[in-house]
Symmetry: C2
Subunit: 113 residues, 2 copies
Amino acid sequence: MKVTHYREIPRDPVGEEGASGITVRRVISEKDGADNFSMRVFEVEPGGYSPYHNHPWEHEVFILEGSGSLVQGEKEVPFSKGDVIFIPPGEAHQMKNSSEEPLEFICLIPNPK
Amino acid sequence: MKVTHYREIPRDPVGEEGASGITVRRVISEKDGADNFSMRVFEVEPGGYSPYHNHPWEHEVFILEGSGSLVQGEKEVPFSKGDVIFIPPGEAHQMKNSSEEPLEFICLIPNPK
């Protein structure tokens, strides 16, 4: 059993090409014995974004603080605190902080088999 | 893609034996096409608790609001807003709201294969 405040877990920059002003804390992972899926907490500064990309696994997201928009092709879907987001495998997506406050969200992914 | 405020999703009582004053919203599930794991949001009223039980799957938890304690045998580990909790498969556990405020947490589980 592990009980830890998420801010006690180290925060790493997301260095991926196409990302800007975004960091990640890997709060529950295979290192904890979580074999099936992993929990990460992302912080996005005002104007920051994740890469616009797609991949063959899903995202399960919960918005903890702030607001922003989910970009998908020509579409921008706004979201804010308390929203849950499901992005199926293979759907292109980008998370953007278009507000003037920090954006924080939980994002879970399946672990590689 | 699904973007919905978690409070728009119906809230069901947890009727399981040994539970008291606890409800669940199944915010992301197989119905959404989430094949690997599911996200639920639980609300526990002051004095309420989940059943003391164990099962062969893990929990990945994030405390959204309030505080309480995680019971495991003789041990009671306090938790509060912003804590992440990993409960490995097979470990007995109970979530208790020992405060005077509502407790809300996210809890994710793997889907049956």
